[in-house]
């Protein structure tokens, strides 16, 4: 009865919809409802507050295996996160994790001569570094930092008949880390006839 509960495994951070979530694999104890509690420790707590840990009350004694930590890891320092299993008075050891990042989902479109990009919403602490270039001119890459992804972002005006390529990476100040770049996406601008003109002609 008093055997230690298993430590949660596969602890990781998932960034999606402008939020960071701590996730882990469920711990199975036959016939029982297992609960979990999550805490975090910033560099401040580690170095100036006796290595204290701060409970995330929304993630205390929860039965789901996910916890929204977006607001708690917002500073540009290293963070430790930990989760343990709880069943009645029984506790597991803590499973601990340092924070990391995934590249963004991205959709590139050409609207007439205009190069537009839509980016996945990954949480208020997340920014995006968007790199774009004219195909064949890889040495002339342009970069734009995108902070607000709630709408279509206008990257640039393009030359007719050319292909333009775009890739993006996420950067989170809270953990001072960047993700790898997303896959590159390329679009072609219509010839001299603008997209709307084409649309107008087709639909009239």
């Amino acid at each position: 009865e008093d055997a230690l509960l298993p430590v949660p495994q596969n602890i990781s951070i998932l960034s999606t919809n402008m939020k960071h979530f701590l996730t882990w694999s469920p711990v199975i104890v036959q016939g029982e409802t297992v609960r979990y509690s999550v805490e975090f420790q910033g560099e401040y707590e580690r170095d100036y507050a006796n290595e204290s840990w701060i409970p995330i009350c929304e993630c205390s004694l929860i039965t789901v295996t996910v916890c929204n930590i977006t607001e708690d890891i917002s500073a540009t320092v290293a963070y430790n996160l930990r989760v343990r299993t709880e069943l009645g008075a029984r506790r597991s050891e803590w499973g601990t994790l340092k924070a990391s990042l995934t590249p963004p989902l991205m959709k590139v479109t050409a609207d007439g001569y205009h190069l537009l990009v839509e980016l996945e919403d990954m949480g208020p602490a997340v920014q995006f570094c968007v790199v774009y270039w004219k195909k064949g001119q890889e040495s002339w890459m342009q970069q734009k930092v995108v902070k607000d992804v709630s709408s279509v972002v206008h990257l640039d005006s393009m030359e007719a008949g050319a292909d333009y390529c775009v890739k993006a990476q996420t950067y989170v100040e809270a953990i001072n880390r960047s993700s790898s770049f997303s896959q590159t996406q390329c679009v072609r601008v219509q010839g001299d006839m603008s997209m709307w003109m084409v649309t107008a002609l087709i639909s009239s």
Binding site: E43, E45, Y48, A75, T76, V77, V145, K147
Partner: protein, 152 residues
Amino acid sequence: TAGNRTFHFGPCRVSISMTEIRSGFTAIKANIQARDPIRTLSILSYPHSLHKGKSLDRCCITHHLFNFYVDKVFKHCKTEDHYINRKISSIANSFLSTKKSLQQCHEQNRCLCGQESTEKYNQILANYEGLDVTSAAMKSLGELDILLDWLE
């Protein structure tokens, strides 16, 4: 980058996540300031506002103040409210990040201290030590926007 502002104190360039700090402070401002009943005293603005100082020593005063908050203030601001404590942690960690950047500047002689900043900081310490530590820490935390407004 979003939320980060780069401050140029002469040769010292420091990036401060002002948006994160501001939003954290806005969330706790009413609660923390309500715990400070003393209207007639200010830690940062007494007897003279931070704004009245010359700009030569801005880097050193900023360095002193970030050290002041990390070393002296945040640790005495624990409350009974988990939510408030988490916000204070977020601010404290943002301050720590900036404190480290300023420390680098200082060590590389890019953030020199003159007489004015020393006098200013001594006045702040005197104001702080004029109260019991918890009241002084809470008052200082409640005055965070005075520091942020001055910085910006």
